[in-house]
Assembly symmetry: C2
Homo-oligomer: 427 residues x 2
């Protein structure tokens, strides 16, 4: 892709990217599994072969990041080493190893008039990904899109521009080696300001969906401004509700894992709700396990009473995704109030109930309006890999098309194939 | 619903409708199949019981329509009689008889750690329908939405306002008789100008999808301006391609049926493509059958030669949805050129190939990027009823969520239910 980055006409550059992507998507839609997998395996090999170039590019990005005063967490997300580059290559190979969703039969049936109807998966078309810092997204997202027969338009953050370019170069080498169109995966030159705006407007009808990967402000802007469908979650305000009939040891293990296994992922629990029916026995040990695990606990009045280290929770706490070792805790009047709290403050992402009562569990599973609802399991299972779906491009909390983990299957649409023997429709 | 139609603040009225709809949707999402079906059956009974009121209201609408000089076709679509009212009641009963999609398992699997994952259907939420003239849409759309557990916000055309109000009244009586929320199906007071605009902006986050039912200008406006997902097709420029290896009698029957069975429906064929390999034998008899069926034929040069009655086709003809007894005809160089023509001029709705060659058929089925692709069958089968899906709210040509006929199943989303026994995720 030789774009003249000197040109000022961002709209024209982006239009060109859109047109090329649409053309590539048409070819990719009819590419064989073998050809797509060969491209991915070649891309993984190229990533390995180009490790020195990728690390050299990354070093420049990291040096700039330090100079520009990025936070240590951001610099960590940005930094590559040989191990992380190998992980990028391996992740591409894992995507290649997934079953190809394209052409697979979702369902089929016969009609009384002899027509045979099949519903088969087809690619969505052109997918735009707008992301920040982590350079591995370049490879992960590009590979997933290609596997599902879609063209990808990638727009990474300026802080990772050299790293992304080097990784993208390897992807393109693999794609060309397999005779697929160079524009199957395009990287938008980050020097073009306003490119994101053009993507949000849909590249003149040539972008079918946008996936934002990054902080809340990025996702909020994309959800607010995009004129094409968006697969995303703004935040994961995930709850664990410990029911009156919960086993204490199980409840404690699930809560501690849901909150503390990793605090920075979207499936981490942010609020614990405890049934008043078991508060006298369950609340103190669970709160203490959290405190001992290094978690700050912000509780309602009842929770503040069980341990002096508990800080008071404000109304704001129930709406906050900490992404940190902090949890808000509230005592509720049974499953009904738990469901109402989640409906009021939740983000339709992932919520869990711990209870030995199946009927209570079924009510929670049915009535909580979230992408993923669990019974007796940690919210940290909210992950495409943990679901057995392979790699994911993200988690969606919208109700359209994709909900929950967005893997290769969710990056497809479908069409109806109808086979007959000359049937005409009676008047 | 007692809305003060005198109020000038349309935004406030619509906001109120949105809030009520969202609240009703929460109740409907957890309503039992029995309760929803009872509401629908009661509504059908009320339509029958109120037939005099409905016909009296309709008479006033029709009188105004005549006064306002509406076309005979529009007046016909608007006019009700006892037979048409009975058909409305029967259609509601047919929706009640459909299987309830809500709660049905789409798929389920076990994970090695013992987690059992189910993907089950849930309602979409609140569905807005913007429609013109036909008053039966009030009942059809309202019933389909309710069956799938969704709240409906209906905005009919002003020409049918009294008819719609009378039918809506019957629906509400049925809903209340079954103890479901009155706001399960709301009719927007048409006196409020700007109501459509408010719906297109999504009623403050309380509208999840919009379905336009009406002419091209309505659909175009909705697709252009809606800030929420839209299920629609702008037009159905459907093709029949007669391949060189097509049986002549079959090709002729399929083409005549696809074009002439009903010319005003979206699945009617608008363009015939004939392979040059069989043009010398097949073109003339097919064209003559069309002409004898009362169809105007507009052809390319080759087609003009076979019959003096064939008029010349212009570039514009290939892009035109006639919805009338007119067809454009072109001779192409095999299936590749047919696919290219459809890709260039088609509307991704419904296209058919007639051929005895299975390989050629498979290529056409795979490469034509339309919601419905048929082999040896008429395009007029593009219909939810003909697919065995029951009633449909329309046909969608977009690739997101719903594609092809939009029935009760397509008016649902899904969620993941994960059942465990205390599983926590390892670090």
């Amino acid at each position: 892709m030789e774009l003249n980055a000197e040109r000022n006409d961002v709209a024209a550059i982006m239009r060109e990217i859109g047109v090329k992507a649409r053309k590539a998507a048409t070819t990719l839609a009819n590419a064989s599994t073998k050809q797509k997998d060969a491209a991915l395996l070649a891309a993984a090999m190229c990533v390995r072969a180009n490790v020195d170039d990728i690390l050299a590019a990354n070093e420049l990005d990291v040096a700039d990041a330090r100079k520009n005063g990025l936070t240590p967490a951001m610099i960590d997300r940005l930094t590559l080493d040989t191990k992380r580059v190998e992980a990028i290559a391996k992740a591409i190979e894992e995507v290649a190893a997934l079953p190809d969703p394209v052409g697979s039969k979702i369902t089929e049936w016969d009609r009384p008039n002899g027509l045979h109807i099949e519903r088969v998966r087809v690619p969505l078309g052109v997918i735009g990904i707008i992301y920040e810092s982590r350079p591995n997204v370049t490879a992960d997202a590009g590979a997933l899109c290609l596997k599902a027969g879609n063209a990808a338009v990638l727009r990474g953050g300026s802080e990772a521009s050299r790293s992304n370019k080097a990784i993208h170069q390897s992807l393109v080498e693999g794609i060309l080696a397999s005779n697929l169109p160079e524009a199957s995966i395009q990287l938008v030159p980050v020097t073009d300001r306003g490119a994101v705006g053009e993507m949000l407007r849909g590249l003149g009808g040539n972008l079918d969906v946008i996936v934002p990967r990054g902080g809340k402000s990025l996702v909020a802007r994309v959800q607010e401004e995009a004129r094409v469908p968006v697969f995303a979650h703004l935040e994961g305000i995930c709850h664990v509700y410990v029911d009156g009939e919960a086993d204490l040891a199980m409840a404690r293990d699930v809560v501690v894992n849901a909150k503390l296994r990793r605090t920075g992922i979207c499936g981490a629990a942010e609020t614990l709700l405890v049934d008043e029916a078991c508060a006298s026995t369950h609340l103190a040990p669970i709160v203490q396990a959290l405190l001992e695990g290094g978690c700050e606990v912000r509780g309602d009045e009842a929770t503040q009473k069980v341990d002096a280290r508990v800080k008071p929770a404000t109304e704001e706490d129930w709406r906050t995704e900490y992404l940190d070792a902090i949890i808000s805790v509230r005592v509720v009047k049974g499953v009904g109030e738990a469901i109402a709290h989640i409906s009021n403050y939740g983000s339709h992402h992932t919520d869990s109930i711990v209870t030995a009562n199946t009927r209570t569990a079924e009510r929670f599973l049915n009535e909580v309006d979230s992408a993923i609802v669990l019974h007796n399991a940690s919210t940290q299972f909210a992950d495409g890999g943990e679901f057995g779906m392979g790699a994911e491009i993200g988690i969606a909390t919208g109700k359209f098309h994709a909900r929950g983990p967005v893997g290769v299957e969710q990056l497809t649409s479908f069409k109806y194939l109808v086979r007959g023997s000359g049937q005409t429709r009676p008047s």
